[in-house]
């Protein structure tokens, strides 16, 4: 223990200190926290089960169950269902953000973060940033499964990449909703419960799996205003024809609105606790 004995401590009164964290420091703290998130994924790969297994199982399951009934055969259902599954899978992945945030905030290490002279927001922003990696994994796997089952996107590689980016951006935006529940909920399991209650209507009451005109009128009304429907349509446009339509714009607008509402709410609730 030589170093402790030889390095004298700079006295507290002799240090030059500031009471603010600059934007560039905040950014660097966020990136370090995201790095921690990735390390955690590396250390506990089992937490990737949802983003790896769900795209595989859901794609196979839904395609073969609904394919014949809805589109006549599996092959012609693929261009409809793959974008739907993609959006559904990636958005459900964003629930994990809230659940993990709650678990994390209950741990001892959070006390250390709070006692360090770092940006208060960094553990939150870092977690959200690290989660985009999960969306990327889920997106890639869904497209790979679709390709293996016979999907040949008319929109080409560019359309697929564009669709992937759109889904990741939208999922990231929606993850603020679940992050908010993560911050205010008492336990990780209650976060999971509340999030599921929101997620199921949001993803299933959309045009993700079946054509809207088969639904009753009152339901069509909800499906038409459901932001998930816009994302699904935008992804279909990109994947199947490589075009960007109004739905693409509305998806981004919807995402921006979610962030505009939930980011301040989450940050405020979080700062009160952090």
């Amino acid at each position: 223990m030589t170093t402790i004995a030889t390095t004298p401590i700079t006295p507290g009164a002799a240090r030059s200190l500031k009471n603010r964290v600059s934007t560039s420091e905040t950014l660097s703290h966020t990136i370090t926290m995201a790095y921690r998130g990735l390390l955690k994924i590396k250390r506990t790969p089992e937490q990737l089960f949802d983003v790896t297994l769900q795209p595989i199982i859901f794609t196979v399951m839904f395609t073969y169950i609904f394919g014949g009934a809805i589109a006549g055969d599996v092959q012609s259902y693929l261009p409809i269902i793959i974008p739907g599954i993609l959006v559904q899978t990636v958005i459900s992945t964003s629930i994990v953000t809230g659940v993990q945030l709650r678990e994390d905030m209950d741990k001892g290490v959070f006390d250390r973060f709070r006692s360090l002279p770092i940006a208060r927001i960094a553990p939150l922003s870092g977690a959200l940033l690290a989660d985009t990696v999960r969306y990327l994994i889920a997106t890639t796997l869904t497209f790979v499964m679709g390709y293996l089952m016979g999907l040949r996107p008319e929109g080409g590689l560019g359309g697929v990449i564009g669709a992937a980016l759109l889904v990741i951006v939208c999922a990231w935006s929606l993850s603020w909703i679940f992050a908010f529940f993560g911050v205010i909920a008492r336990s990780a399991s209650s976060v999971q419960g509340i999030s599921m209650l929101i997620l199921f209507p949001l993803t299933f009451l959309s045009n993700a799996f079946v054509p809207v005109d088969t639904m009753p009128g009152w339901l069509q009304w909800f499906v038409d205003i459901n932001p998930v429907s816009y994302i699904v349509t935008a992804v279909r446009d990109l994947v199947n024809s490589g075009t960007i339509g109004a739905d693409f714009g509305w998806s981004l607008v919807g995402s921006a609105v979610v962030v505009a509402v939930f980011a301040p709410l989450t940050v405020k609730a979080y700062m009160r606790r952090a």
Binding site: T3, I4, P8, I9, L17, N19, K107, S115, P117
Partner: protein, 336 residues
């Protein structure tokens, strides 16, 4: 950047700190003064308000009333400055369980502004110092309590803070690991660090702390050096167990004559206990017993325990927070 500290001598100044959880006044007006470069011990049983007090001074909890200053900086208004001056080692290891020891230290170093290379060097250096190099890559789940505690302390020392909070640093550690922790704390102070530690053990406060505050039910009930406190608590006691219990009465007479105190006798155990103010006269007592042909089965010296400290200072023994609260409610009921 900031005003010159008015009291550069004080590392910690707490005035009337209060924290209320529901109806429980966990901290009920705590005043503390910790001089720079010293070890200050906060001694008290579970639930006395030690951790809550430290949490407020370490900017983790907002006080409901009162003020705290660290090297002259207010813990609420200048929280970020305070955080640059302190290291906190919690009662429960505040390290990331999912990461390895190295990853933990690199993470905290990076957050404190070290470059990637510097962070790695710092982590290696601290692991070496705390004898954790062999376990550096192992996941923390396989760490023993002592190893976790050392890693936790190592993480608090990355920025070489001038003030270190140690919340029950040795609770749950075996005696050997405990002694190592004490050595580490002494070395920290030798480099000019100030240490504020909480403990449930009187001997730990006695061994390490220059000054001690005894805290109970959220209030400081006594404050002073270890010697001052001991003097207020009373002396150690001498315990004798006799080979032949029939000698008890003779021994009692001998003790009253030689030590000039009244012993207490437990006839069933063949034991006799006497307060021992001056160890020097014990020699004489033993010689007297030999001359009288009394044979001892056992001889021991009992130091005052935390229990006795509390009994003396507060009029009640060590009890856990729940039963203490119960007792209070009962008291309130009886008043009403």
């Amino acid at each position: 950047m900031h005003t010159i500290t008015r009291n550069g001598d004080w590392a910690v100044e707490a005035d009337g700190l209060v924290k209320v959880f529901g109806t429980n006044r966990a901290v009920d007006g705590v005043d503390l003064r910790v001089a720079t470069g010293t070890v200050y011990g906060v001694l008290g049983p579970n639930g006395a308000g030690k951790t809550t007090t430290i949490s407020m001074l370490a900017t983790l909890l907002r006080p409901d009333a009162g003020t705290g200053r660290i090297f002259g900086h207010d813990v609420q208004r200048e929280a970020q400055v305070v955080r640059q001056l302190i290291g906190v080692t919690g009662q429960y290891a505040s390290v990331d369980e999912t990461l390895s020891a190295t990853e933990n230290l690199v993470l905290f170093s990076r957050l404190l502004g070290l470059t990637h290379t510097a962070a790695k060097a710092k982590a290696a250096e601290l692991l070496e110092e705390f004898g954790l190099t062999d376990a550096a890559k192992r996941p923390l789940k396989k760490f023993s309590g002592g190893m976790r505690r050392r890693l936790d302390l190592a993480a608090s020392l990355i920025a070489q803070p001038p003030l270190i909070f140690l919340d029950e640093p040795t609770t749950g550690l075996d005696p050997r690991t405990r002694a190592q922790m004490w050595d580490t704390i002494r070395r920290l102070v030798a480099t000019g660090s100030t240490v504020l530690l909480t403990t449930q053990y009187l001997d730990e406060a006695d061994q390490l702390a220059d000054r001690i505050a005894v805290i109970d039910h959220g209030r400081v009930v006594a404050e002073g050096t270890a010697d001052e406190l001991k003097a207020s608590i009373g002396a150690s006691s001498l315990q004798l167990r006799l080979q032949d219990p029939r000698d008890l009465d003779d021994v009692r007479v001998a003790i009253e004559r030689v030590l000039r105190v009244t012993p207490t006798i437990s006839p069933e155990a063949g034991r006799i206990t006497a307060p021992m103010d001056d160890p020097d006269v014990v020699t004489e007592l033993l010689l007297t017993l030999r001359d009288e042909g009394v044979h001892l089965a056992e001889l021991s010296v009992q130091k005052p325990t935390l229990d006795e400290v509390f009994l003396t200072l507060t009029g009640h023994g060590v009890e856990d927070a729940a039963s203490a609260t119960e007792a209070e409610t009962e008291l309130e009921r009886s008043r009403a």
